[in-house]
Amino acid sequence: MPGDSTPAASQAASTSALKSAPSAASHPDPSSITVTKAIPPTFDLGNLLCHDPTPLPPLPPPALLAATARDCAQSLINQLLTACPVVTAAAGGGVLMALPPATFPLPREKPLPRKKAETTWERFAKKKGIRDRKRGEGGREYDAGKGEWVPRWGYKGRNKDGEGGWIVEVDEEKERGLEGEGTGKTVRGEGRRDRVEKVRRNERKQRANERKGRKSGGGG
């Protein structure tokens, strides 16, 4: 009789469920999405990783392996679909999900990148407190005497102050030295000569630093 056979069948099902706890037979509903485990699994969603610490018998049968794998997959996908926010895909693809950063500790492939060695200029600038300026920044300064902002260098630059004055103080010693060479140098060109020499000196230093940097192999 059908009335008698059903309890017997359910009895058999329950005993088989007892024998292999998390097997497929333990799910009465084939469309169930809930997973019950003795010890709940933990996840690392960044690596799509499921840690399932429930102990297995010494020689687990294949059916148990399949059921355990299914349970892990189900619980991992449950977790993914509930915990991860959905990112709408731009190019007509499927549903994209944002994964959290991975947490399982793994060694790196290579050591952390080392900082590049300082160049001579960088070291010098740090010592002197010179910082990089943006284009146009600091090109002008306030001239209290004129009461306006004037350029530091270039056309009508402040570094040319005192050049081209209509009257020049003459140091006789110096004047004699210039004339002695007979090169057509005058005291009037003194300021300009100093300025040009300063530029040349700086260029010389720059080249020397580059050469030194290349030799020591640092920074470059």
């Binding site: 690596n47 840690h51 399932d52 102990p55 297995l56 687990p60 952390l112």
Partner: protein
């Protein structure tokens, strides 16, 4: 040790620059190679694991006279030469049948090693499974079942777990396509048997099949696609503590800064909050009209002087038509409110 090359042209410079250490690292490349004597079983399984690992894998086909646990220098050379930090070395001998040595490198030097022997009776290759296979290069789901993988003290099983995660996790990604969740690689370890034999590690690969469950989350079924491998654990070499500490470092600032005032709602739309300054209504730009022009104002002032004070009080804003009709005889100054 690899010769230090000084790049002489732009191409070799680029190639070398690609191998330099990065703050956020690329996916590790795996090298598959075999010893002077190797069994066809191990070769086949190496091929299968290689196909799971593609595209982050290189396969060598020649024999190599290497014994990783005696001298790993050749492996280190290969690691540096190929910019590969993971290796699987297959070999077979009477004493160590069907062995696979899983090697991890850090900065071109060997970090740790794990020797696993394939149990011949239960091993099945990818070809021996009929049915649909997974696509190449999908990021697999990984699962580790068994209490021994979770041991608080590091043992051969925790080492194996760390190795397998490193080998199979693929590239790190911020997002994943739901369609791409196709492959599950699961590892099982039982309790140690009564006969004193240490437990085997069982590796199984499954294709994930989803079915409608009537709810938001689908019902998941698994279908074995191979390879199926049972490993007995052999020799291990743990990482040097100092080197491991160096290898576990994560750079400062590698973690993403939390974004303020930007959030994503349930539908997946991005919502941002913007803070504006206080609005000054006196500066508000209203409709522009000819009559409001400042230049005119001055003219009117001069003209309007003869009109007297009374006329100016009850004036109104004039539209352009009105102005035209008035033939420009009288222009009134608009009242500013």
């Amino acid at each position: 040790m690899l010769r230090q090359i000084k790049p002489k042209n732009a191409r070799s410079k680029r190639a070398l620059a690609k191998q330099e250490p990065l703050m956020q690292e690329n996916a590790k490349t795996t090298l598959f190679l075999k010893g002077t004597s190797s069994s066809s079983l191990v070769n086949d399984l190496l091929t299968d694991i290689h196909s799971l690992k593609r595209p982050y894998a290189i396969r060598f086909t020649k024999k190599n006279p290497i014994h990783p646990f005696e001298d790993a220098s050749s492996l280190e050379f290969f690691s540096q030469k190929n910019d590969a930090s993971l290796m699987v070395f297959g070999s077979h001998s009477k004493k160590r049948p069907h062995s696979m040595t899983w090697v991890r490198c850090f900065g071109g030097q060997m970090l740790d090693m794990l020797e696993l022997y394939v149990v011949q009776e239960t091993a099945r290759t990818l070809q021996q499974f009929k049915g649909e296979k997974c696509k190449v290069g999908v990021k697999p789901l990984l699962s580790f079942s068994g209490a021994q993988f979770e041991s608080p003290v590091s043992n051969q099983y925790t080492l194996a777990k760390s190795m397998f995660v490193d080998f199979f996790r693929g590239a790190e990604t911020q997002t994943i396509d739901v369609e791409g969740l196709q492959l599950l690689i699961s590892f099982f370890v039982g309790e140690d048997g009564e006969d004193g034999h240490p437990a085997k590690i069982q590796m199984r690969c499954w294709r994930i099949v989803t079915k409608r469950s009537g709810q938001k989350v689908p019902r998941v079924e698994v279908e074995e696609i191979g390879p199926r491998i049972d490993f007995r654990v052999g020799r291990t070499r743990e990482a040097n503590e100092g080197v491991l500490k160096e290898a576990m470092k994560t750079g400062k600032g590698s973690e993403a800064k939390p974004k303020k005032n930007v959030e994503t709602d349930v539908v997946g739309d991005k919502i941002g909050q913007i803070h504006l300054g206080r609005q000054d209504l006196n500066e508000l730009q209203t409709r522009k009209m000819k009559g409001l022009k400042r230049g005119r104002d001055l003219d009117i002032d001069e003209e309007g002087e003869g009109e007297g004070e009374g006329a100016e009080e009850d004036e109104d804003v004039i539209s352009e038509e009105e102005q035209d009709m008035g033939n420009g005889v009288k222009l009134k100054r608009p009242r500013l409110t």
